[in-house]
């Protein structure tokens, strides 16, 4: 059993007690301690800024051309915080409880409670930085509701919340760069972790412009590298999002926890053909007003507006009358898949359902008539008024849909389908966010800790910033207080030599295969295996097949991939090849994890384990643990477990009916 080092005491005192008794590093010593941060999204940028402010010497790395590009920027909906500004009964406990329940009781109570506690400070910090959150006419902050909760606790900046929060953190980071506390290395990719005497002491990074390998020393290394959804090839992640840094850490001894817990988001724009390179999310907030339906008759090819009301199946409202279109993401996604698999899908691919705004437009139109006292006006005029309101609320999302599909969503219902969006699994960390390697930390989506088997909307931004602004500044000090005598280890140390040699030989090996197939073609094939057999629904037979197919794909990759260009220069195909090679290995572990978890929970749905009405069936007696895989050898892992103890929340069957 793994020890998460959760502080003793009652749940709501743990973090305060920890902060009160944690060891500190004095300001003069902070200047002598170096910290490497890999990845500069919300978690990485906020950590780099906060640690720079404290006086540590920080080196930050990102593969993009600027930290402001990190994919946190694409988050649309909002960020939760237990402010209770709406006086609607919210509290730290409720946010904690909703998150634990939403995660289907597979997350760690102490971490989630801490997350809920610091959530309020995040909003204050962001406002102080000048993040332009939406406001009411009185000048105070505005809130909206989000899937899976019954209070309004989501703060937002139109449909661009992630962008505004990231730019706030980015600006704070750039300020530390100007002050000389942070050195920024953009267009660099971490390709190996350096471990000396069992402790993380640095990284080998490739300069993506020149192709040079660089050695960087530090007293602690923080991985803030995001999720691994691109293992599916098609996902809402950015093209460059990858698992490579985390995977190197894993192969060097960090456990990978719950890798099969993947979030499939219900409202994405469907695939249009084989050329598709990525998928685009339509914010969950659209489900606040839109109604989701398919034709009640199988294979109905009529245009949506030719299908009368009584021949439509609003299947979420039918199956889940209490939450309706606002059920959590995992539930909504599975329900869409169920209808499409049964032959009721719409569009040319039949892999889509309608998200219809006709009712909302009419409802808003009528309320405008009342508000403006317009009296008896035509139906067309009412619809026009309604469209204006919808445009104000969701205009940027509707525009995005029209750009991608060429269809006007104000006239026709949108077609949507679930897509891979977020990975709850990640590097196993203890309460202090330290991995199984001493001095190596994982923050944000890169770790596994807070969302269990399913993440609630508007909580990814919250976790990234909580870890970076308010958790790591305390916990890393507790470790570094013992490191003040370490001094600077020169990068001529044999461990750096060896790590660089490993990277070099791997790059040469990849380049020298000189086969016939492109990196992209392998990635696509991996994605198809994962989506078909380790996607929204999994079963034993399919997972076993997937493992065999992935092993075969790996052999083919390492004997037939073709990478043009040079090693010692910019080489985008070489960069991509390294990432895909790691995704292939991770894919196998995800299938193994899904195969050994003989229950359904959250985003992990094993077809063998469902209730008679098709809901996920948890097995708390046998599976209330974190699967933290330890790498042994090629295709060989040891399953280590962290038992999940629920002292405060009583796990129950999740019901949204």
């Amino acid at each position: 059993m793994l020890n998460a080092k959760i502080p003793a005491g009652p749940l709501d005192n743990k973090w305060n007690n920890y902060k009160g008794s944690v060891r500190l590093v004095n300001p003069a010593n902070k200047r002598k301690l170096e910290i490497i941060i890999v990845g500069t999204g919300l978690a990485g940028a906020s950590a780099a800024a906060s640690l720079g402010e404290l006086g540590y010497k920080v080196k930050a790395f990102c593969f993009q051309d600027s930290p402001r590009r990190a994919h946190s920027i694409a988050a649309q909906g909002g960020i939760n915080a237990a402010k209770n500004y709406q006086n609607d009964g919210d509290s730290v406990y409720r946010l904690f409880y909703d998150t634990v329940k939403g995660g289907d009781y597979r997350s760690r109570e102490a971490n989630v409670h801490r997350l809920a506690e610091v959530s309020t400070s995040i909003i204050d910090q962001c406002v102080a930085q000048g993040v332009p959150f939406a406001r009411e006419y009185g000048g105070l902050l505005s809130n909206r509701s989000f899937g899976g909760t019954q209070v309004q606790r989501t703060f937002y900046a139109a449909g661009q919340t992630g962008q505004q929060l990231l730019i706030g953190a980015y600006q704070a980071l750039e300020r530390q760069v100007a002050l000389g506390n942070v050195t920024m290395h953009s267009r660099h990719e971490m390709l190996e972790l350096v471990i000396i005497d069992g402790k993380a002491r640095g990284i080998i990074a490739r300069n993506l412009i020149t192709g040079e390998l660089e050695r960087h020393f530090s007293h602690a290394v923080l991985l803030c590298t995001g999720g691994y959804g691109n293992v599916f090839y098609l996902s809402t992640n950015a093209m460059g999002s990858n698992v490579t840094a985390a995977w190197k850490a894993h192969k060097n001894g960090a456990n990978f926890a719950n890798p099969c817990f993947t979030q499939i988001h219900p409202t994405c724009i469907p695939v249009s053909g084989d050329h598709q390179s990525k998928l685009t999310l339509m914010s969950e907030s659209l489900r606040n007003d839109g109604r989701i339906w398919v034709p009640a008759k199988k294979g109905d090819t009529r245009k949506p507006f030719d299908i009368p009301e009584e021949e439509r199946d609003y299947y979420l409202e039918r199956r889940y009358p209490a939450f309706g279109n606002l059920v959590p993401r995992d539930v909504a996604s599975r329900a869409a898949k169920e209808r499409c698999d049964a032959g009721y899908g719409v569009g040319t691919s039949k892999q889509a359902v309608y998200l219809d705004y006709a009712d909302a437009i009419e409802r808003y139109g009528k309320s405008e008539v009342n508000k403006r006292n317009l009296g008896d006006i035509s139906h067309e005029a009412i619809i026009e008024l309604g469209k204006e309101v919808v445009k104000e609320k969701y205009g940027n999302l509707f525009d995005m849909y029209e750009k991608i599909t060429g269809e006007n969503p104000y006239q026709f219902p949108m077609r949507i389908f679930p897509a891979v969006h977020y990975t709850m699994g990640g590097l196993w960390v203890d309460y202090e966010l330290m991995t199984k390697i001493e001095g190596l930390y994982a923050l944000g989506e890169c770790n596994f800790s807070d969302h269990g088997a399913n993440r609630l909307g508007a909580s990814a931004l919250m976790q990234g910033l909580a870890d970076g602004y308010f958790v790591i500044p305390y916990t890393v000090g507790n470790y570094l207080s013992d490191e003040i005598r370490t001094g600077t280890i020169p990068t001529s140390h044999p461990a750096f030599e060896a790590a660089e040699a490993t990277v070099k030989s791997r790059l040469e090996k990849l380049k020298n295969i000189n086969g016939t197939q492109t990196v992209e073609s392998f990635h696509k094939r991996l994605g198809k295996i994962m989506w078909d057999k380790c996607g929204m629904a999994r079963n034993e037979e399919g997972l076993k097949e997937a493992i065999a197919e992935i092993q075969q794909l790996k052999r083919e990759f390492w004997s037939d991939v073709r990478i043009p260009g040079e090693i010692n220069a910019m080489n985008l195909e070489l960069d991509k090849a390294g990432r895909v090679a790691d995704f292939i290995e991770l894919g196998e572990l995800m299938c193994l994890d899904a195969l050994t978890r003989n229950e359904s929970c959250g985003g992990h749905f094993r077809e063998e384990f469902q209730s008679p009405d098709g809901e996920a069936l948890r097995d708390d007696a046998n599976y209330m643990f974190v699967s933290a895989w330890k790498y042994q050898n090629e295709s060989e892992w040891e399953l280590q477990k962290e038992e999940l103890l629920y002292d405060v929340v009583k796990p129950s069957q999740r019901s949204y009916k």
Binding site: Q160, Q171, A172, M184, A238, M239
Partner: protein, 255 residues
């Protein structure tokens, strides 16, 4: 919507690195679907080049949903191509028809040196932000988020300016390679909010100073920046920037 396929001729800027001489190469691409995005069309070209043993075209891109600001390209003379308030990654091939020729170049400006092919170095923008594009508030310093109400109209205006994605299209569109729209968006965002007030004067002076140091040109009010901005950032921000700069320059105390 009717979907179709097309064959196209592409004239693409190829340049090995910053110091090398670049030139246009002509490629033909076949069976491009009208449903593809512009970058997916480039994916098709690159896959073919790799199988032919040639080097693929290097271009910047990441989110492919129009928000990260990483993609660039000047397409038939226009940064981010022909669609209004749109990024290259969101341009779709239904814009084109069979037989079209498309000329694709990198963003061109002295302050944005070409790294390779269509990829440029926009580090100058980061350095401009470092010079003052922030509020100096350390983590933990903040008061309650609702302690200071902000007039909704000002908050909305600040938000509109803050939606800048830092892509650099404004610079590429400007005949003087001026970065005024980018700088003005940040200055407007922060000077409209009470949180930005304490550093209001030093910020605008320092950011303008850094902009000049980076080698961006001057603004001559042609408004081509606004016309090509994928986020529709208004040139009214430049007017605000000029006011802020004048006020700061004429006041003795720089803060």
């Amino acid at each position: 919507m009717q979907h179709y396929t097309m064959n196209l001729t592409l004239k693409v800027w190829r340049q090995k690195n910053t110091s090398a001489q670049g030139n246009f190469e002509t490629y033909s691409v076949k069976d491009i679907s009208s449903e593809m995005s512009f970058l997916e069309m480039f994916d098709v070209l690159n896959e073919r080049l790799i199988t032919e043993g040639k080097e693929p075209v290097a271009f910047d891109h990441d989110c492919r949903e129009g928000i990260c600001g990483m993609c660039s390209m000047v397409i038939n003379g226009r940064p981010h191509g022909p669609w209004k308030t749109n990024t290259t990654c969101q341009l779709h091939m239904r814009e084109y028809k069979d037989g079209d020729t498309i000329v694709v170049e990198p963003f061109r400006a002295n302050a944005f040196p070409v790294l390779k092919d269509l990829m440029v170095n926009r580090g100058a923008f980061d350095r401009i932000i470092q010079s003052g594009g922030f509020v100096s508030v350390n983590t933990g310093n903040a008061v309650d988020g609702n302690a200071m109400p902000v007039e909704k109209s000002k908050a909305d205006e600040a938000f509109s300016a803050a939606t800048c994605i830092g892509c650099g299209a404004c610079v590429a569109a400007c005949k003087n390679s001026s970065a005024m729209l980018f700088v003005s968006a940040k200055v407007a965002h922060l000077s409209l909010l009470p949180q930005g007030e304490p550093e209001r004067k030093s910020r605008v002076v320092n950011m303008i100073g850094q902009m000049d140091k980076e080698g961006f040109g001057s603004c001559t009010n042609t408004y081509s920046c606004e016309a090509e901005c994928p986020k529709g950032i208004s040139v009214l921000n430049i007017a605000r920037l000029n006011r802020e700069y004048l006020a700061a320059s004429f006041s003795g105390d720089k803060n």
